[in-house]
Structure formats: C-alpha cells, structure tokens
C-alpha cells in the first residue's frame, strides 16, 4: 500500500521517487508493470534470497548469529556454502515429523473446511440477491475483529471450565469437563474457524456463476437433484474447490498462532519449530533452512492451483 501512496506523491518522498522513475524512462504502461515487479522484488524475492543465504551459512555466536557466506582473502573471493543445515533437517526425525504433522493437520482441516464451507457457499449462491449480500457480510464480518482476539476467544469456549463444558455439564450430558483445549481437536477447530471465509468466498464466486440452465438440462435429461449435484455442480465448481483448498491449506501448513494458543505440547507444527529455532535456539541458519524447505513443500500445491486455473480459463 505504501508503495502506491509513495508513487502518488502523498508522502514527502513520493514526488522524489516518482521523478526518479520518470528519469529512468518508466512511465505510463511501464510504470504499471514496474510497481508490482518492484513490490515483489522488495518484499518477496529479496527477503527470500536473504533467507536462502542464511540457510547456507554456519551458525555462530555472533551478531548476526551466523558466519558470512563469503569473504575476501588476499584478493580472492572465498565462498563457503554449508548444506549441513539441510542435511541436519533430514537427520533429525523431529523436523520430518513436524513437516508431516503440519501437512496432515493442514490437510485434514482443509477437508473439514471444504465440507463445512461448500454447503454454506452453495446456499449463499442460491439465496435471493438481497439475502445473499447479508449472508456474505456475515461471512466477512469476523475479519473486522483481530484474528488473535478471535482465536483467544476460543480458549474461553474450550477450556476446562469454559462455556462449552459448563453448558454440557448443566444439561447433564457429561459429569467431568472434557479436555478440549491444548489438543489437536482445538487446533482443528481454530484452523477451520479462522480459514472458513477463505474457503467460502472462492467457492461462492464460482457457484454464483454456475449457469442454471445446466441444472435444468440435467433434470430434463432425467437426473434427480442429487445426481445433478455430483455430475454437474460439483465438477463445474472444481476450480473453486481447488482455489478454496489452496487458500486454506497453504497458510494452515505454516500456521503458528493457532497451534501455539490452542494446541498441546505434542501438537508439533512446523511454524512452532521455526519459532523455537529462531527465538529460543537462536539458530538462524537452521530456522532459515526449515523455512526454505517449507516453501518448497508448498510450491507443489501452488503449481497445482495454477494449472487448474489455466484449465478453467481455457474452457471459458
């Protein structure tokens, strides 16, 4: 955001940057492309390269806590690449199990989110236009409150003498409070709750476009509503399903706050490992290696998403 404001000259430095860009021949259409390119370079590629660099260096008790990758020695450039951090990740079962656990938790929550989100998106898309806007508002409304606060509120629901346990005991369904907080169950609840809108919105956008005449054609050819759903509606919303799943799965793999607040000591997700390496052990190279491997793991689903979108664009 600040980038655009700068270019609009709203900030004191903006006019200067604008003039500088102008001087190097960037204006009009070139500028339009330059802004996102610059943005990605500054806030994605550069940090990525920094992290990649750190992941290849050796930890040291220093400031910053790692040895430089290269140094000048008698006029020669010495580059020391240290792949030991990566090897270490595969040596120590902790990391591998943390990856697997993260992917598992993210995958299971994605499926649950889909199962909860699809009917909601479907009903919103089928609702009368007035109702539809209200329902969409309700889906987006939680974003107006801090995410941290909302996850924190779940503690109040789930804890031993929390709201849920109190109600269940009041109506006599249980005698002992259920242990829900600090379990994987709580983590699933947290993730599904938090990411549900990211599932509903792309699904809604897809389902609302669905041409009614396909459904009528299906019925006309003798398909009952349930058959029509599985043979027409579901396949035609595949791209919405994939988009929603990616939007939930990708951030959920690296989720840190939810397992930290709601999870137990044995909920081992990669976000937490990363946090520990970085802040507790001050092992920046290992932490960076963990982050890079996570990125690689996530590139696969992102590529799947792109492929699905390209396929859909072709059909239209």
């Amino acid at each position: 955001m600040s980038q655009e404001e700068t270019l609009n000259g709203k900030l004191p430095g903006g006019a200067f940057l604008g003039r500088a860009l102008h001087r190097i021949g960037l204006r009009g259409r070139g500028l339009v492309i330059a802004i996102p390119v610059l943005w990605l370079f500054l806030f994605f590629l550069l940090p990525f390269l920094v992290v990649a660099k750190i992941s290849l260096s050796e930890a040291a008790i220093a400031r910053p806590p790692y040895l430089p990758l290269w140094n000048w020695d008698d006029g020669f450039l010495n580059i020391t690449l240290n792949f030991g951090n990566y090897l270490f990740l595969f040596d120590d079962p902790l990391y591998l199990s943390a990856y697997i656990e993260s992917v598992k938790i993210a995958a299971v929550s994605t499926v649950i989110t889909l199962l909860v989100g699809y009917p909601m998106a479907y009903l919103i898309a089928r609702a009368a236009p007035d109702t539809r806007n209200i329902l969409l508002m309700l889906v987006i409304l939680p974003f107006w409150t801090s995410f941290l606060l909302r996850v924190y509120a779940w503690i109040g629901f789930l804890k031993g003498n929390g709201i849920i346990n109190n109600i269940l005991m009041k109506i006599g369904l249980i005698n002992e409070p259920l242990v829900m907080l600090q379990t994987d169950f709580a983590v699933y609840i947290g993730i599904v709750y938090t990411y549900l809108p990211f599932m509903i919105l792309p699904l809604f956008a897809n389902l609302v476009k669905l041409d009614q005449s396909y459904l009528e054609a299906s019925a006309d050819l003798g398909a009952r509503p349930v058959t029509t759903f599985f043979t027409v509606t579901l396949p035609l919303s595949a791209s919405g399903i994939i988009a929603g799943c990616m939007l939930v799965f990708i951030p959920a793999v690296g989720e840190f706050v939810i397992p930290a607040l709601l999870g137990g000591p044995d909920t081992l997700m990669i976000g937490r490992v990363l946090w520990n390496e970085f802040f507790s052990n001050r092992d920046w190279p290992i932490a960076s290696a963990v982050a890079i491997v996570m990125l690689v793991v996530l590139v696969i689903p992102i590529m799947l998403l792109r492929k699905a979108q390209a396929a859909e664009a072709e059909v239209q």
């Binding site: 009528e216 006309d220 003798g222 009952r224």
Partner: protein, 379 residues
C-alpha cells in the same frame, strides 16, 4: 418464403374425433404482477412440428418451460399423452428440451453429453454406445465424439444439443429457438434436416421461434403469440393467407393494411371505402359486418401489380409515385407513396435480367390487385 405442407397427409386438427397428443387447457402464468402467459389453450397432435411464433417477451419460453416442468403454471392444466403433468418433476417427464442457450455441459465431451440422459435411464453400456454413435451420424457429427463443447463452432454445438435432446427418443421434444445462432444459409439447411429427422424418428416437436420464415418452413401448424396470448393457430398457409387480425397479418410476412369503412354490404361481396387506399376496395365475398363499420384490408406485396401502363383489368386500382426500390435479387420491392400519403410495398419478381419498362424512382405508377388478393381483417 417457402411453405412446406405438413408431413402427415392427414390433418388430425381437422378431424373432429382425433385425440390430441398434448393438450394445454387454459394455462396462465404470472410472475408477480407480470402475466407472462395468459389463458392459453392448445392441442398438439402426434407427429406434428408445432411452432410457437411471437415477438420477444411474448411468453414463448415461459410456455415451453411450463411444458418441461421448470415453471409451475399459476392456473390451468397440461396433459401429455393422456397424463396430467401437474406435480410431475422435470426429471420424471417423458419430454426433452433443447435449450435456447444449448446448455451443453462444458466439462463433458460430446459423447458424454449425449450419453448423459441414457445413463440416467440405466441403459446397458453397449446400447448407450450404439445409440450415441447412431444419433451422432444422424446429425452429421461423427468424428466429434471426443471434443469438448468449447472446441466446437456454434452450428456444431447446436447439432450436439439437438442430438442430446433427441437421443432419449422423447414423446415430445421442445426446441427453444433451436437455430437462433446460425447464419442464414446454415439455418435453412438445418431446417430441412430437422424436418427429415422429425419424420424419421416420428417425435412430436414444439418449436419456439421469433423468425416467421423459420416457422413457415418447419411447421405443420403455427401458433402466433402476442403478449402472452395465442392469437391464431393454423397451418402456415392459413396463417399467411387468412390472418385473423391486424397483428397476425402484420407479424407474418409483410403486408399492406388499408383501413376503411364498409360502404356496401352485399350478399356475396363488400365494398370498402378507404381514403387511405385512394379508392373503394371491392371484396368478392361476404364479410360479417355492418355498413359503416371500421375494417381493414390486408394485401400482400406480391399480390399487387405495379406498372406505368394502365391496369384496366384489375378489380382494385390506385395510383402513386415510386419512392424507393429495394433490389433483392429474385424480387424487387417497390415502395410507392400513394396520393393519400400512405406508403405501400409492391414486389415484382425479376423474370428478366433487365426490363426497360420497369418503373423507376419518381415514376407515376398504377397499382392494382385482384378482388381475392386482399383479406378482410376485422379485429
């Protein structure tokens, strides 16, 4: 305009005790305060190609959608093959529909699209395969089985849609603007193909169109609709030659309408005073009306003569000035400004390549038409 005679030599609609295949009884459909279809009653017989013809928004699609069960009539009754259709869900009806937008499933190949309806009936795989192949060759689309709809041209999609609706051999096939997306030449070809297919399968067709030429070519009978009502039902010939009212006369083909009043109401003729036509018009048959009654005479452009010479032998004559000539190849259409200020259209077929005697712009011309050329419309 080509007027094909109905394929069935017998005309069940003229036979008093013939049982209609489909009966629509006093159907009305209201959307809130909008009356889309108003008190329509209609009988369609087996093996017919029945065209519903009318302008945009006159309720054609709504009527069709009620027949397929997508809209519930506000009142009235639909009986198909002896069965009352009230409360029968679309997927339980023995009818199929070809949609105005084709509605081919975009994620399925041509083959899968066509097989869809057969699969729902639980037919064995082998039979489905043969029926799909057969219908594909009937609509001349063999070789396209594995394409997806977006890989087809508009005309090919239309054929697939037709095949998909035909393959179940429905009792009644409804086609909503089936040829709307085709160019004129392809449309004409396909019209004849449709007739052939209809004859070979013996399915009853109800076709919706707003193209009167298409209705003329295709149908055994036409139902002309206006503002939700059926204003006239008849064979293409009846509709064209004997329009019941001004709307039908004006809607089907082009027509010159001369307004006037009955001047002389004879035993077997009437004379109509029409200042608009600039003459008294003689009609050699009796008309139910009283002297002084407002009435109109409809005369088709091709039934009028135009000449610079005298047209003494014609029963009805008037004069005017050629204002415009539209050369259409096979015919030339003259727009003539009568002395009364009314414009009339007269078409003459171009029998020779050039004709020195033909009237041209600005010429004073005589117009004439036979007594039987005009048809009286009272409503």
């Amino acid at each position: 305009m080509t007027t094909s005679q109905p394929s069935t030599a017998a005309k069940p609609w003229d036979t008093p005790d013939a049982v209609p295949f489909m009966q629509i009884k006093n159907i009305t459909k209201k959307f809130g305060s909008v009356v889309a279809v108003e008190n329509v009653s209609l009988d369609v017989y087996k093996g017919e190609i029945f065209c519903l013809l009318g302008g945009s928004g006159c309720g054609k699609s709504t009527l069709l959608r009620m027949l397929s069960g997508f809209e519930v009539p506000t009142s009235g009754q639909i009986i198909i093959d002896g069965e009352d259709q009230a409360g029968v869900a679309p997927y339980d009806r023995q009818t199929n529909m070809m949609f105005q937008s084709y509605a081919l499933f975009p994620h399925m190949t041509v083959e899968k699209n066509i097989a869809y309806g057969l699969k729902r009936d639980g037919l064995p795989k082998k039979e489905i395969a043969t029926r799909v192949t057969d219908i594909l060759s009937l609509v001349q689309m063999d070789g396209f089985a594995t394409r997806k709809p977006h890989q087809l041209s508009g005309g090919q999609r239309q054929r697939v849609a037709l095949a998909r609706s035909l393959v179940k051999k429905p009792k009644l096939l409804m086609l909503d603007e089936p040829l709307g997306a085709l160019d004129k030449k392809l449309r004409e070809e396909t019209q004849f193909e449709l007739i052939k297919i209809q004859e070979s399968l013996g399915v009853t067709f109800v076709v919706v169109t707003h193209d009167q030429e298409e209705a003329m070519t295709l149908s055994s009978r036409i139902g002309v609709m206006n503002k939700g009502e059926i204003v006239q039902v008849g064979t293409p010939h009846e509709i064209y030659e004997f329009p019941r009212n001004r709307f039908v006369a004006d809607f089907i083909g082009s027509v010159n309408l001369f307004e006037g009043r009955i001047k002389e109401d004879g035993e077997n003729h009437v004379v109509i005073a029409s200042p608009e036509a600039g003459t008294d018009i003689y009609v050699p048959y009796a008309v139910s009306g009283v002297e002084g009654q407002q009435i109109a005479i409809a005369v088709r452009p091709e039934k009028m003569e135009i000449s610079k010479a005298d047209l003494g032998e014609m029963r009805n004559r008037t004069t005017g000035t050629v204002d415009e000539i539209a050369y259409m190849g096979n015919v030339s259409v003259y727009h003539v400004l009568l002395d009364s200020g009314k414009r009339v259209r007269v078409s003459q077929s171009n029998r020779t390549r050039s004709n020195e005697d033909a009237p041209t712009y600005g010429d004073r011309v005589n117009l004439g038409w036979a007594g039987r050329a005009g048809v009286v419309v009272t409503a």
